[in-house]
Symmetry: none
Subunit: 121 residues, 2 copies
């Protein structure tokens, strides 16, 4: 797989660490940076692979990418405005471990996302 174009990552940072592929592409175009949409998508795939970014979905299904810290966490996302709060998942980690051992599973990971409507919407 191809490596990430560094300008894609820096554009994502500049966008507030939260943007779709289309938006990153548009931003770069507006700045006069020469790049193809394909490269933006491929770079994001690669960043995702390296766990440098995280992917969520907007209400309309568009994928939005955001920079991700190293610690395992979850998100609480507003369905209306996209506002995102990072959640520490202590309780859910414990829950996952319990469920796993109850069912004889090992090496258990998990995904969890919360979504709703924030106080401003």
């Amino acid at each position: 797989m191809s490596r990430s174009n560094p300008r894609v990552l820096s554009t994502l940072e500049r966008a507030g660490g939260f943007a779709s592929a289309q938006e990153i592409y548009a931003l770069m175009q507006r700045d006069g940076q020469q790049i193809g949409l394909t490269t933006v998508y491929r770079s994001l795939q690669s960043l995702l692979n390296d766990k440098i970014v995280d992917v969520l979905r907007r209400e309309d299904g568009e994928a939005i990418y955001r920079l991700c810290g190293e610690s395992h966490h979850h998100h609480l996302v507003c369905k209306s405005c996209g506002k995102t709060v990072e959640i520490e998942g202590g309780a859910i980690e414990k829950w996952a471990k319990n469920i796993a051992s109850e069912n004889g599973f090992r090496d258990v990971g998990h995904t969890a996302e919360l979504f709703g409507t924030c106080s401003n919407c």
Copy 2:
């Protein structure tokens, strides 16, 4: 807007109260029910409007609809053989509600999946 075709709702129920438009359409086709994909989409829109169903997004962005008020469950999936266990999510529901109110969110739903290696693998 057009009203919902009742067979769409009953197919969604039959699917376990959780399916995408494409899946509902395929299910109805397989059963020999005559319906168009357009009608399935329009019916789901209408059910959504009437708050009879709820919409979530799969990881790949496909919209999945579920009956409102269904006590939904989660899955524990073996990465190696695909064995799946249904999990009752009492603990996680409570967790989600707490997190939501702590952050001033309302109408909060969630997704959660566990994956690991089962005892046979």
